[in-house]
């Protein structure tokens, strides 16, 4: 399956070798290329394939693309944790270089979202969270158009046996209602724009004033700049895009407070 690259490939065999040696060296060269791993830990050939699939004009079938990616011997975990986020970053970089239009980016992001749903099915539907699981509420603030990061985070937390709810573009009142009724152990806000930090800070203030107990508050996303400054500005406990950090922090705090 993986060899049937329906979106074309950069790697091409050069014909014309007279003996077996040119063919063998060509094969070795292609194999080497297939094994190239980027700094982010992804195999470049698989990422290239995914990148072409996202921009393909001939449609996008997430289950076919998932099969192709699995043909590169990638697990669902790796696809969710590495390849989907890296492909999203790659799309953003391509927009910055004017290689793709913003509509390509939006459609590519939605395609990644469908791929994530497909890849998460096997991970999420397998069972329910245990009764003593940590409860996480992921919030994509109003006005944020990107929720792929939040969905990736949800899939990762579910794999860590957390009970996860996702609130996309909900009002502050709706979020407060969720916090007071569900009493989550952690509330993670996904934020892509610095402009949205003021809204985040306002929501954090409301939660701290009204929630009992106050959940662990974290903010994550492609935020740049001084993270400590962002933490102080928003009033959250953590600024991170690593799910395990939040879960570890939350579990430690629960133990320290002797909460069940």
């Amino acid at each position: 399956m993986a060899q049937d690259d329906t979106f074309g490939t950069n790697a091409t065999f050069r014909e014309g070798g007279t003996g077996i040696e040119p063919l063998a060296s060509q094969v070795i060269s292609v194999l080497c290329e297939r094994q190239t791993v980027t700094a982010a830990g992804v195999r470049q050939i698989a990422l290239d394939y995914l990148g072409r699939a996202l921009l393909s004009k001939s449609g996008f079938d997430p289950s076919c693309v998932l099969d192709e990616l699995r043909g590169f011997r990638l697990t669902s975990d790796a696809i969710v944790d590495l390849y989907i986020p890296q492909a999203a970053i790659q799309l953003g970089d391509q927009w910055m270089c004017s290689d793709v239009s913003f509509s390509d980016v939006t459609i590519g992001a939605l395609r990644l979202q469908s791929l994530l749903t497909e890849a998460s099915n096997g991970l999420v539907w397998a069972g329910q969270a245990p009764s003593d699981a940590l409860e996480a509420l992921i919030v994509v603030p109003e006005g944020e158009q990107h929720f792929l990061g939040a969905s990736v985070l949800a899939a990762q937390l579910r794999r860590m046996e957390c009970d996860v709810s996702l609130a996309i573009s909900e009002t502050a009142d709706q979020i407060m209602t969720r916090v007071s009724l569900d009493k989550p152990d952690m509330l993670l806000m996904s934020c892509a724009r610095i402009d949205a930090l003021a809204l985040v800070a306002k929501t954090v203030k409301q939660i701290k004033a009204a929630a009992d107990p106050v959940p662990v508050l974290a903010i994550g996303g492609p935020l740049r700049g001084n993270l400590e400054e962002i933490r102080k500005q928003t009033g959250v406990d953590l600024v991170t895009s690593v799910a395990t950090e939040v879960v570890g922090f939350c579990a430690k705090r629960k133990r320290a407070l002797g909460l069940q």
């Binding site: 927009w95 910055m96 004017s98 290689d99 239009s101 913003f102 509509s103 939006t106 459609i107 939605l110 979202q113 749903t117 999420v124 539907w125 069972g127 329910q128 158009q145 929720f147 969905s151 709810s165 996702l166 996309i168 573009s169 724009r193 610095i194 402009d195």
Partner: protein
């Protein structure tokens, strides 16, 4: 800027355009045009006169372009502008997001063009807001989908919990393909395979005595009538005879069979009619039924017993000693258990049960030993006789006088003298209090005075004997 190799534009056929006309031509040819200096300052903003949706942007002039760009667009513009100034104008069009007054954003696709003024650049822009609006709708639709997935996830979890916890072995089967679409662990155990191995397997291949088409046809026929007999098959791996109870339904355009499987063990332990009736009796009778182990610990009780002792939950009773609920405690227990152990049963035994509030309810108890080598148990049936006592009282003291000799025989040996005297005091107290309350027509002050008790003491005793409800 030639079309088809024509020299039209450079041949002199086109007259020089006056500056005041040029700006309007540029504005008309694009949706928005900016003239930007080498320092990045906006020298001029031209807006298509036919389109007033941009509003008045005159305040942009004289200010830096980056003041009106979103964060990610600033870096992008600076790179392209730098390249332009170094002599390599960007060949690709440049999409930038403009920002004005912090809230107002819109995307524009610009192309870079040399302009007469030294190093200034003319940016001809195409308004992308119509596309952006369509995309917003797409994103909103996706958000709705995501919320749908969340709801589906919740239903799926419930389905998984049900599949994992029901006692039935359940298999979902596609009628069209005859393959298993889902199955629970009980089904896997019955068929001798792991649950994962069942997924996608042909159902008929798991049995040694049926072909695929034949089995599917039998299952479909069995769904036609409500009282159809189950399909009997023999499992290839476990060699068990299995009953299949199919139900057909439609989903997503295809027919699916839900098959409940029952193995030989289930068939052999299936309760007969009288057993089913016994279970129904246990649940619905007004008499209390209690099962004890041989040491008197409560194994199970029915709702009537919970009502009798005023317990809210089974957990308040199960695991406790029944002696805790009997007025004579271990003495009652000893009599009941000894008799049941020696003779296998005991007829009517009169005693009282004590509830949480200390009220004592007269009961008659019969006991039977249940023969089970592995789990021997004692079954008790307790009947509340407080109403019967009331009727006897109403009939007057002369009617149905109890046999004093028999009562004393019942008492002696079942409790110590001290306990019998204490119990007697209780009975006398209760009779006096009831009488005083009746005589005073439920006037507590008068009743307390009549009995020489304080109002508080009377209240405590009313509560102790379960008489509070009577005076309400």
């Amino acid at each position: 800027m030639k079309t088809g190799g024509s020299n039209f534009w450079s041949s002199g056929a086109v007259p020089l355009i006056e500056p005041q006309f040029l700006s309007s031509i540029i504005a008309a040819a694009s949706d928005i045009a900016l003239v930007v200096s080498a320092e990045g300052t906006i020298l001029s903003v031209l807006i298509n006169a036919q389109d007033d949706s941009f509003g008045n942007l005159n305040h942009w002039e004289g200010r830096a372009v980056v003041d009106f760009l979103t964060e990610e667009s600033i870096e992008k513009f600076q790179a392209a502008h730098g390249a332009y100034l170094s002599g390599t104008p960007p060949k690709k069009s440049l999409e930038l997001n403009h920002l004005d007054n912090a809230t107002w954003q819109y995307p524009v696709r610009y192309t870079f063009h040399r302009f007469g003024q030294e190093n200034a650049v003319l940016l001809l822009g195409r308004d992308l807001r119509p596309i952006a609006e369509t995309q917003q709708q797409l994103v909103q639709a996706q958000i709705a989908l995501e919320q749908g997935y969340e709801a589906r996830r919740e239903f799926d979890t419930r389905y998984r919990v049900v599949m994992g916890n029901v006692d039935d072995a359940v298999v979902f089967l596609s009628v069209q393909t005859g393959r298993i679409e889902d199955a629970n662990d009980h089904a896997a155990a019955l068929l001798g395979l792991k649950t994962e191995a069942l997924m996608g397997a042909t159902f008929a291949s798991l049995f040694s005595d049926r072909s695929g088409a034949e089995l599917t046809e039998s299952l479909m026929n069995a769904t036609l009538s409500e009282d159809a007999d189950p399909i009997l098959v023999r499992a290839s791996r476990t060699r068990q005879t299995i009953e299949i109870h199919p139900t057909v339904f439609r989903t997503a355009g295809q027919r699916v069979l839900m098959c409940r499987l029952r193995g030989e063990d289930f068939v052999s332990v299936q309760p007969d009619t009288s057993a089913r009736h016994a279970v129904a009796l246990f649940r619905s009778t007004t008499d209390s039924i209690v099962f004890l182990d041989t040491r008197g610990t409560v194994l199970s009780v029915n709702d009537a017993f919970l009502d009798l002792v005023g317990a809210a939950h089974l957990s308040d009773v199960v695991g406790a000693s029944l002696a805790d609920f009997m007025s004579r405690g271990q003495i009652d227990m000893g009599v009941l258990l000894d008799n049941a152990a020696k003779t296998g049963q005991m007829r009517v035994y009169a005693t009282r049960l004590v509830n949480d509030l200390g009220a004592r309810v007269p009961v008659e108890v019969s006991a039977a030993r249940l023969e089970d080598p592995e789990h021997p148990a004692i079954a008790l049936i307790l009947r509340d006789v407080s109403r019967l006592e009331a009727v006897r009282k109403a009939d007057g003291p002369s009617a149905n006088l109890p046999d004093p000799g028999r009562n004393v025989m019942d008492l002696v040996g079942s409790a110590s003298l001290k306990e019998i005297v204490a119990e007697t005091t209780d009975v006398v107290e209760k009779m006096c209090i009831e009488t005083a309350v009746n005589l005073t027509r439920n006037n507590r002050v008068a009743a307390a005075e009549m009995l020489g008790l304080s109002r508080q003491s009377l209240y405590v005793k009313l509560r102790k004997f379960g008489l509070l409800s009577k005076d309400n």
